[in-house]
């Protein structure tokens, strides 16, 4: 507190980094301490993925389409994590009283969001690997990887943009009431559809796919499928290089907007005295 009686939050990279790790830590250790999570969080995407694979089998689809479903099902672990482990998290923290502690702590809330994202990525990745391996083996999917470094780059950029989007949603949901859950639910199946989780997004038409590209998974999935099933480049929506460029743009935009939204909503919430108000 200074002479005028104003309180300044401590800042600095060290504080940010410590706060980030502190928030990520529970997510790192929770799968180890509570192993039963593994069953539920791998079982559900695996069931949904398998159902869509059997639809393709019922209509005698070419084998690469089964691979498309497996990749879509794998990436759905990240999307579900972004929706329920990122976007909803500050809202839930408010409901159970954790947000009070975050607000009172000297660290920036952005570091908490970044910690949630880092922890969420690691946990979702473990689920995704499980789904990928089991589904690939069970349905005998063959991958023809054209470039492993490119695949890794696309994957990481997709996650960066995706979790940036999740951080933006988390900030926005701070202002939500009990409609947060329902609104969040609206982002499940509709996004599976418009992002082409289970079919090449190109089939929806250029302009539809272009509009859907605001969701990083649309571009990420399309690029990954082109790299993983390099036999037929005609299935891709845009060239992989263009999709990488767009993913970089989306990452920067979402991270910047999430920072702005969080600061703005926190300021409004503090001013109105409603930031930790539970609304039922």
């Amino acid at each position: 507190m200074n002479a005028e009686g104003r309180v300044y939050k401590a800042t600095g990279i060290k504080l940010f980094w410590r706060m980030l790790l502190a928030r990520a830590y529970p997510r790192f250790v929770s799968p180890i301490r509570e192993k039963s999570w593994l069953f539920f969080e791998t079982f559900l995407p695996l069931m949904a993925t398998s159902a869509y694979v059997f639809v393709y089998k019922a209509v005698d689809a070419p084998p690469e389409f089964i691979g498309f479903v497996v990749i879509g099902g794998t990436m759905s672990a990240f999307w579900l994590n972004v929706l329920f482990g990122m976007a909803m998290q500050l809202y839930w923290d408010k409901e159970i009283g954790n947000l009070d502690a975050y607000i009172l702590s000297p660290g920036p809330i952005m570091a908490i969001l970044a910690g949630m994202a880092l922890g969420g990525m690691v946990v979702a990745a473990s689920r995704a690997v499980f789904v990928l391996v089991i589904a690939s083996l069970a349905f005998q999917v063959t991958y023809t990887i054209s470039s492993l470094p490119l695949l890794i780059l696309v994957f990481l950029l997709t996650l960066l943009a995706l979790y940036g989007m999740g951080m933006m949603f988390a900030a926005v949901y701070l202002a939500a009431g009990r409609d947060a859950w329902q609104i969040n639910s609206l982002f499940q199946e509709p996004i599976y559809f418009i992002s082409g989780f289970y079919f090449p997004v190109k089939t929806l038409g250029f302009w539809f796919a272009a509009a859907a590209s605001i969701i990083p998974l649309t571009l990420g999935l399309d690029a990954m499928r082109q790299i993983l099933f390099s036999g037929d480049p005609a299935l891709g929506f845009l060239p992989v290089e263009v999709e990488i460029l767009l993913l970089i743009v989306l990452s920067v935009v979402f991270l910047a907007v999430s920072q702005w939204a969080l600061v703005t909503l926190e300021r409004i919430g503090r001013r109105d005295g409603r930031i930790i108000e539970r609304r039922r």
Partner: protein, 294 residues
């Protein structure tokens, strides 16, 4: 006539029925009051419409748009009907979590002179009503924009009404079983209903014929009454146009209903036993109003 009407209205005063109706109204108010009517309507339609459009696109990409084939109607209607399963199973099981953790009124419910089983069913019925609206909209979209061979005049109404009544009773009982288990377990309370619904989606051949499943998975499907409910409902809606796949083709309509009734009865009996056991355990171990923060 007068005596039967009097009997009906006196039945309304019966505790279980009164509890059921009140819980249904409460559930409806909880489900429908969070948004304005247009937003709520969008919510009811957008999710199921997206899920069916995923299947339409998947099917069209492979078959080059051969939507007049019987298997398309099989997939489309199976997906629309399955909305009811998800809403009923998930709705009843999550009602326990919502009442206990979110609204924190479980203790009041279990100390009030009401029928707890009927209360759980009523809370689920509200979700079922939402599911019915979604399923009707999806089916209407199918009739308007896709060549679904659906003609209400040609429906086998007796088969449809019987299969719906019996099937939904069994599915509701399954929801009560999961809801009852949610009373006594501290973890994954939000996931169990979804996990069961997802597993049933796969094993019951909701969106593909059971024939494409490996034999061991087909056996699970044959053991589930929902498989027969879906088949009977499809036959009632599509009539002779219904695709007949080898796995269930040898069942005539009556045989389907008999197996369905037997399975539903089994679920109802098990649900009553599990519900009583769960309530006893929850009260005895002071779990009835636990806060798991899950």
């Amino acid at each position: 006539m007068r005596s039967s009407l009097a009997a009906f209205f006196s039945a309304r005063n019966h505790r279980a029925l009164r509890t059921f109706l009140t819980a249904t109204w409460l559930g409806w108010r909880q489900e429908a009051s969070w948004a304005s009517a247009p937003v709520f309507a969008l919510y009811l339609i957008l999710r199921p419409l997206s899920s069916v459009l995923i299947l339409v696109v998947m099917y069209s990409v492979i078959t080059d748009g051969a939507l007049e084939q019987p298997i398309f109607a099989y997939i489309y209607l199976g997906n629309a009907l399955y909305i009811l399963v998800g809403q009923l199973v998930g709705g009843i099981s999550m009602a326990v979590v919502e009442d206990r953790e979110h609204y924190q009124m479980m203790k009041q419910i279990h100390t009030a002179p009401i029928n707890g089983y009927a209360y759980m069913l009523g809370r689920g019925i509200a979700k079922l009503l939402l599911g019915v609206i979604s399923a009707l909209v999806i089916t209407g979209v199918g009739m308007l924009f896709f060549p679904l061979p659906l003609h209400p005049a040609a429906f086998d109404w007796p088969l449809l009404i019987t299969s719906m009544a019996v099937g939904l009773t069994g599915i509701a009982a399954l929801g009560v079983i999961i809801g009852a288990l949610n009373m006594v377990i501290p973890r994954h309370i939000g996931s169990i209903g979804d996990a069961v619904a997802a597993a049933l989606f796969l094993f019951t051949g909701a969106i593909f014929p059971l024939d494409v499943l490996p034999t061991w998975m087909q056996s699970i499907g044959f053991a589930l009454p929902i498989t027969y409910w879906l088949e009977a409902s499809r036959r009632a809606l599509l009539g002779p146009d219904a695709a007949r796949f080898p796995t269930l083709a040898h069942f005539d309509d009556l045989a389907l209903l008999q197996v369905l009734a037997l399975g539903a009865l089994g679920f109802v009996v098990v649900s009553i036993v599990v519900y009583r056991w769960a309530v006893y355990r929850a009260k005895a171990n002071d779990l009835i109003d636990m806060d798991t923060s899950y």
